[in-house]
């Protein structure tokens, strides 16, 4: 195992905690963008040889996850004039602790699920922890935009796992993944704006009229 990809994966974990521990939305988005760049680099490092397929995958990931989506989110917070998350459902220290717990859990699960034919030791736990932290952000933050960031982290975690199968899973799927992220966020983005206009804030806790 080369040490450079391991290092990149460690940085991915750090960006996860970066999103968990900050109140400023713009910092959140920057951490997400950094994560997108790291994810764009990984296919190049992990591939056994540099094929056109790998280059396209890396470029596509970089453009969508590293540039387009963060740009879109930056534009959204400017338009909507939101700067920080307001009092999440659980505090920042607590959510960092929860993140640490998720990290431990991810490693515990990864040892139970050995990857066949791949000595890459960090890809599976890092992917799992990114998925879990994405879910934590998605469920504990109240701003609709932060929830979108959480959802994108979840997708990033799945992408990381998909890298273990980059050789055997058809190209079509990877295009589908990128496209789905894009379309999903596009639609969510429209909804985010309507939430802002209807309620004068992006607090999704306002959305509590429909209850039993």
């Amino acid at each position: 195992m080369h040490t450079v990809p391991q290092l990149v994966l460690l940085f991915v974990v750090l960006t996860n905690f970066g999103v968990l521990g900050t109140t400023r939305l713009s910092t959140c988005i920057r951490a997400l963008a950094l994560q997108g760049w790291l994810l764009g680099l990984l296919p190049l490092m992990l591939a056994s040889h540099l094929s056109v397929h790998v280059m396209l995958l890396a470029t596509g990931t970089l453009i969508v996850k590293g540039i387009a989506l963060p740009w879109f989110l930056h534009w959204a917070i400017r338009e909507a004039r939101v700067r920080r998350e307001i009092e999440p459902l659980i505090g920042y220290v607590a959510s960092l602790l929860l993140g640490a717990l998720a990290l431990g859990l991810a490693f515990a699960i990864a040892t139970r699920l050995p990857l066949p034919h791949l000595e890459e030791s960090l890809l599976v736990p890092v992917s799992l922890v990114t998925v879990m932290i994405g879910l934590i952000v998605l469920t504990t933050r109240r701003k609709a935009l932060t929830q979108v960031v959480g959802y994108l982290m979840l997708e990033n975690g799945i992408f990381l796992f998909g890298l273990t199968q980059a050789e055997s899973v058809p190209f079509l799927l990877e295009v589908g993944v990128l496209l789905d992220v894009f379309v999903g966020v596009f639609i969510m983005g429209i909804v985010v704006f309507h939430i802002n206009r209807e309620f004068d804030s992006l607090d999704s806790a306002n959305l509590a009229e429909l209850q039993d």
Partner: protein
């Protein structure tokens, strides 16, 4: 070729309705023409089977054929209803409405015919996106909240399902056969890595279960069904949930073939019973008809996975129940649509005396109550009875008794509300409303089908159901 047509034709129609500035009547005709052609193509599959297309990625196997037949039928009935509906209501972005409906038909056809798990996933994701703008058509606070919950919860579910599909690919690493093609997975099931396959099953069940609306991932369902236009709810409760169930059925098929029955069956039973219990709790004391139907949908999704989990004749019962539940949900949501058109609300109290004001819809509503709660002579009685029989046969009589008790509670809860709606005395003298033929033709046809299925299951359908049950590790009764 026909299989490809079934998927591409609706998508072309969607593109046409969206891109070409047609007159409103032309767009509606396009909707009807595509729906009817789709249905005709489907019927041709029953007469002469079509060869697989796209290198075996598209094929009409028994499981897929059942779901495709259901969705095509429901779509045709809903399209007929849409003609009457769009005469009365002008949803914002009229072309978006029609093209969203058609895109949904294309996406569900992809789901039903897909033999490749990733393609099935793309189809299910596309159904989510196609219907989202239609849920939000009123552009007000309540529909905004509904569409937000729908998008966020479904997207998370779909994302987890994708992770599950990668897990399947990992389980298949080094195993002969094309990656992620269901037939090849089943053929070499004993070689799949058991640990990864189990993880895959869990993620796919939770992911697609979210789209089905299994408890406890059902929280988007009442809000979305309640706020969406009734004909969209009809497609969601009838067709979308069945497509998502097909996703669960496919991974169950693979897991059962791999001998993972002892792992997957208790999990399916757990989700099934929990969904029934949650539905029973929330149905009591509902005050809104569409939300009531949403919880009834949670109940029936529970029954579907319960049947799968019981195995044996339960698998047959489940597949039959997919058809019955889809038809009756579509029927009832279209009736709910007529009620909302007449009074402007689906609240139970504001709609007392429906039988008096809307005679045809009122009768359909009362019949629907008995059909949806599984009373004879309707089809749901047969399929629920088959599932209960499987519980006894599998040596779990307590599951049968628990299910019966919950079904009884649900019957009482639904009957109290729906009978009050149909028979209660209206607050004021709402005049009798003339019901357009377009608006009652669909539900009447659906009701006839559910009635026929309760009395007699046609031979070809019975054969396909039996084959599907065998594929799921069960058997025909």
């Amino acid at each position: 070729m026909r299989l490809l047509m079934l998927c591409v034709l609706p998508l072309l129609g969607a593109l046409l309705a969206w891109a070409v500035p047609l007159a409103a009547t032309m767009r509606i005709s396009a909707l009807l023409i595509v729906a009817a052609t789709h249905f005709a193509l489907l019927l041709s599959l029953w007469v002469s089977p079509a060869p697989p297309a796209l290198d075996g990625w598209l094929a009409a196997d028994p499981l897929g054929l059942i779901v495709l037949s259901l969705t095509s039928t429901i779509f045709l009935m809903t399209a007929v209803y849409a003609v009457g509906y769009l005469q009365r209501v002008r949803p914002r972005g009229g072309r978006m409405f029609i093209s969203g409906l058609l895109a949904f038909l294309g996406a569900t056809s992809v789901v039903a015919l897909s033999q490749h798990l990733a393609m099935l996933w793309v189809g299910i994701e596309a159904t989510t996106l196609a219907l989202a703008p239609l849920v939000f058509h009123r552009h007000d606070r309540r529909s905004l909240e509904a569409v937000w919950k729908y998008l966020v919860i479904s997207s998370v579910g779909i994302a987890l399902a994708l992770l599950g599909i990668f897990f399947v690919a990992t389980a298949q690493d080094g195993v002969p056969g094309r990656p992620l093609v269901v037939g090849d997975l089943v053929a070499h099931a004993s070689l799949l890595q058991p640990a990864w396959l189990r993880a895959a099953f869990l993620f796919l069940l939770v992911g697609f279960g979210t789209k089905m609306g299994l408890a406890p991932m059902h929280t988007w369902k009442p809000d979305t069904y309640g706020e969406a236009p009734s004909l969209v709810s009809s497609l969601m409760a009838g067709a979308l949930t069945s497509s998502a169930f097909l996703g669960v059925a496919r991974i169950t098929q693979v897991a059962m073939a791999a001998g993972q029955g002892p792992f997957v069956q208790p999990i399916l039973l757990g989700f099934g019973l929990l969904s029934l219990a949650v539905a029973a709790v929330f149905i009591i004391g509902q005050s809104d008809m569409k939300r009531l139907l949403a919880y009834s949908s949670v109940e029936h999704m529970g029954l579907l996975v319960l049947g799968l989990g019981l195995g044996g004749v339960g698998a047959y019962g489940s597949m039959l129940h997919v058809i019955n539940n889809g038809l009756v949900k579509s029927w009832l949501f279209l009736v709910a649509g007529n009620i909302v058109l007449a009074s402007g609300t689906s609240a139970v109290l504001a709609n007392r005396g429906t039988l008096h004001r809307l005679p045809v819809s009122g009768v359909l509503l009362i019949l629907g109550l008995f059909a949806v709660t599984g009373s004879p002579p309707f089809g749901l009685f047969i399929s629920e009875f088959t599932i209960l029989r499987a519980a006894f046969a599998a040596g779990h009589p307590w599951i049968a008794f628990a299910t019966l008790a919950l079904l009884a509670v649900i019957f009482v809860g639904m009957a109290a509300l729906i009978l009050e709606m149909a028979l209660g005395t209206p607050d004021d003298g709402h005049p009798r409303v003339r019901e357009s033929r377009w608006l009652v033709a669909g539900p009447i046809t659906l009701a006839c089908m559910v009635l026929v299925l309760g009395v007699y299951i046609p031979g070809p359908l019975n054969r396909v159901l039996a084959l599907a049950a065998v594929a799921l590790g069960g058997r025909a009764p």
